[in-house]
């Protein structure tokens, strides 16, 4: 093989300059060391929450004190865990109105090409009339179907009974330290209820989660798709958050009732100072289907493993994920499935790319309980390494407690094959373009699962990386 052919193409990192271009706010809040019950009570009081929620928060705080930081996975030393209060800033420091957002930030959004409506919702709908209009137009079209789509604070007022029944029932605060933290200081997020037998045509998007005080970092998403219904929910936006905080401990709880289907799509592109310690879980009843589509591009550290609990006979989980770890990133992502009923099915398809010293980890589990007779599970993990400075690890667990199963797991790690590049180059394609084509082909199965505008966004993110393809 010639030296020239072996020469590695330098692949450019996703440029964050554009996203990161804003002036830091100076907060007046003086943080107390440690998170105290008083601070948690204050959060609850400011939101005028019912007393059970205040209690829930305080209990979560107790659990938070008791639990340790996970000893496995990425190093979280840089997260100032003893001084966690620095991440829980009081809402008075937030800007709610687009008008209050500094000019340079608005310009950044404009340069990013984020539509006006999104500017508004990112800045918070609380004081923004334009966003109210947009928000209500979506709301009205689905409201005709009886679909409830609210921010969590409003939901807690208007559907207190439902929230009390479901809130953190699937991800209890005792799950792990950051779930406990979430239970104590959660703020913002979305609540969706789809009544039985409805097919919601338009995907719902969680742009408006930034509405609420303190939102963005500890938002809670609760979705109930009732019997026989369908919903596509899109979480996170392709735009970055305007945020100086660097811990995200969100929580997503999804309930898919009998015969219902929920598609939950995420493109995460947090800024690179973010510790993204997010917990997502779905409980699937008889013949229900959960489809996760997950793209992880941003953050400094991610620990994200959407979990599907198939508790009803014939329930099904699909996971399609792509993780792209560039310089300075440690993205530890994957999927967890528990087969807890007969005739359940899971398909996990995960792809990762690492480059520039980034680390991409697939971590997952498929657990087939003794009840899950006649279950099927297939797992496929593929990792592409673009240079020798990067890391790619695959850490799956397969736990089977019954004999009537059909389980297959495959994983591959490698780089772009020289033969494929030579083939394309022999057809007159430059080496850079050949590599770009191969990378695009690699992520194509994920891209096609995304709504068009998100697929375009993802392709743009990838194209930005590849030298010679940027116009």
């Amino acid at each position: 093989m010639s030296e020239a052919a072996r020469k590695k193409t330098y692949v450019e990192d996703i440029s964050r300059d554009l996203y990161d271009e804003y002036n830091p706010f100076t907060y007046s809040y003086k943080a107390e060391r440690g998170l105290t019950p008083d601070i948690v009570r204050e959060i609850s009081k400011r939101k005028n929450e019912p007393s059970w929620m205040t209690e829930f928060r305080l209990q979560s705080l107790d659990i938070y004190y008791q639990l340790d930081v996970p000893p496995w996975g990425p190093n979280l030393d840089e997260l100032d865990i003893d001084n966690i209060i620095t991440y829980v800033k009081p809402p008075t420091d937030m800007r709610y109105s687009w008008d209050d957002v500094p000019e340079d930030i608005k310009n950044t959004f404009v340069r990013l090409g984020i539509p006006q409506a999104e500017h508004a919702s990112l800045a918070g709908v609380g004081a923004q009339y334009d966003s109210e209009v947009v928000y209500h137009s979506v709301k009205e079209s689905i409201a005709k179907q009886g679909v409830v789509y609210l921010d969590m604070e409003s939901a807690l007022r208007e559907y207190e009974g439902l929230i009390k029944e479901y809130f953190m029932s699937l991800v209890p605060p005792s799950d792990h330290k950051f779930a406990a933290l979430h239970g104590a200081v959660w703020s913002g997020g979305s609540f969706v209820y789809v009544p039985p037998g409805r097919h919601v045509e338009i995907p719902l998007q969680s742009y408006f989660r930034a509405n609420a005080p303190g939102a963005g970092q500890f938002e809670h998403t609760l979705i109930i798709v009732d019997e026989g219904s369908y919903l596509h929910f899109i979480e996170g936006c392709s735009a970055p958050k305007y945020s100086v905080n660097n811990l995200h401990a969100g929580c997503v709880e999804l309930f898919v009732k009998e015969g219902a289907r929920l598609r939950y799509s995420t493109i995460e592109n947090w800024s690179k100072n973010m510790f993204n310690l997010n917990t997502k879980r779905c409980l699937v009843d008889k013949n229900g289907v959960i489809e996760w589509v997950s793209g992880s591009f941003g953050s400094r550290v991610s620990m994200l493993y959407p979990m599907s609990i198939l508790r009803g006979e014939g329930a099904k989980a699909e996971f399609t994920g792509i993780t792209f770890a560039g310089e300075g990133q440690y993205l530890d992502t994957g999927a967890k499935v528990v087969h807890a009923a007969p005739y359940t099915t899971s398909n996990i398809n995960s792809k990762s790319i690492s480059k520039g010293g980034g680390t991409a980890v697939y971590r997952g589990v498929v657990k087939i309980t003794e009840r899950a007779k006649h279950s099927k599970s297939t797992v496929s993990c593929e990792s592409l390494m673009l240079d020798a400075q990067s890391r790619s690890d695959t850490i799956p667990v397969i736990d089977i407690a019954t004999d009537e199963v059909d389980m297959g797991h495959e994983a591959k790690i490698g780089r772009i094959s020289d033969a494929a590049i030579f083939y394309l180059m022999s057809r007159g394609i430059s080496e850079e373009e050949a590599k770009a084509m191969i990378v695009r082909g690699f992520v194509e199965p994920i891209a096609k699962e995304l709504p068009l505008e998100y697929a375009v966004e993802m392709n743009n993110l990838i194209n930005l990386e590849l030298e010679g393809t940027i116009g």
């Binding site: 996975g73 003794e370 736990d399 004999d403 591959k412 790690i413 780089r415």
Partner: protein, 368 residues
């Protein structure tokens, strides 16, 4: 000595709720090491081959090799290295090719239920040799704790065969380390059939163009527990490893497979492959697989595959339609799963032994 430490720790930890990061003994295990008076060594003497029982001198001093940690646990390794009551040291000189296998057979019995062996195999440049270890016994409360270190100097080929068919209430602990030199080849074939608890740990360090092959077959029955841990660390360019493990679980047997291929930075052009497949013969059987693939180098190929399922119903019916009972048909299909390992055994006598031991165990509990 009381054994309390966690065994077979996963090289990279994961979720705690799954309890797969290591094996905690249900209760501390007390071990009393008494002299082991039996003969256990059979070999054909030849020029350039030195075989000694009870290695007193640790090879590390002689080789100047800085040993990385290895084994099921530091406690077990230390017990074996310092208090062994049996063991062999095999040394093949430069270019020495040994045609006949060296056979080491350890047998626990009621008068000497505890075997603690420490074994070292050293193959000089270009040498080749085969060593067979057999672990068996007929008494109750048998315990085996052993270490084996294999040093393959450049171009050496060392074949190690380990056949374990201890009594069903026995404890079996195996700590094995291989140092695979440039262009050397180390092949392990191991069969695990007995024991209430078998904790087996293989670790290999591969230098440039070094090759490692581990073929394992296991059967778990009754309430037996099998805890298998494999680690292939690729340091040199162009090294290759292959870990192929097949097994069958019956009754309430529980098996955990931890297999790690670690392609270190600089191990350009290396390949690692692991495959684990299990036949589930009982709905109460429990099978856990944790196949890790770690890569700090892009110019590598790593892959793993794991599969689990029942005996193929079509094949079973086919055989039964030809007059075999369900048990016979099942046994035939389990033997088929063992075939890749049976093929690697050095003689028909060993193959017959494994078949017989397997058949006897399969017939212990009714197949469902």
């Amino acid at each position: 000595m009381v054994i309390t430490e966690q065994l077979n720790e996963l090289p990279v930890k994961t979720y705690r709720w799954l309890k797969v990061n290591g094996l905690t003994l249900p209760e501390p295990l007390e071990l009393t090491v008494q002299p082991y008076p039996k003969a256990y060594l059979t070999f054909t003497p030849m020029a350039g081959l030195t075989v000694q029982a009870m290695p007193e001198v640790h090879l590390k001093d002689r080789l100047g090799v800085d040993h990385a940690a290895y084994g099921a646990s530091p406690e077990l390794v230390s017990l074996s290295e310092t208090q062994h009551n049996a063991g062999v040291q095999v040394h093949a000189g430069r270019g020495v090719k040994c045609p006949d296998p060296i056979v080491v057979s350890y047998q626990c019995s009621s008068d000497s239920p505890v075997v603690v062996d420490h074994n070292v195999i050293y193959g000089e440049e270009g040498s080749s040799l085969t060593v067979i270890f057999q672990y068996t016994g007929d008494g109750s409360s048998a315990v085996h704790n052993g270490t084996l270190k294999v040093y393959a100097q450049p171009g050496a080929e060392i074949n190690v065969i380990r056949i374990q068919h201890m009594p069903d209430d026995a404890h079996h602990f195996d700590s094995i380390a291989a140092f695979v030199g440039e262009g050397a080849q180390v092949n392990f074939v191991h069969v695990e059939l007995g024991g209430a608890l078998s904790a087996v740990n293989y670790k290999a360090e591969l230098q440039a163009r070094g090759a490692l092959d581990i073929s394992g077959a296991y059967f778990g029955g009754g309430k037996g527990r099998l805890d298998l841990n494999y680690l292939a660390e690729h340091y040199g360019e162009g090294s290759s490893s292959q870990i192929l493990i097949h097994g069958a679980l019956q009754g309430e047997a529980k098996k955990i497979f931890r297999g790690t291929i670690d392609l270190k930075r600089g191990a350009r052009g290396s390949k690692g492959r692991e495959l684990e497949s299990v036949l589930l013969l009982d709905e109460r059987a429990r099978s856990i697989a944790v196949p890790l693939l770690l890569a700090g180098e892009d110019d590598v190929e790593g892959e793993h595959a794991a599969s689990a399922g029942k005996v193929d119903a079509k094949k079973l019916h086919y055989l039964m339609a030809r007059g075999l009972s369900e048990r016979q048909a099942t046994q035939l299909l389990v033997e088929a799963a063992f075939q890749p390992v049976l093929d690697r055994l050095p003689s028909d006598a060993w193959r017959a032994l494994v078949r017989q031991e397997l058949g006897w165990r399969l017939s212990q509990c009714p197949s469902t």
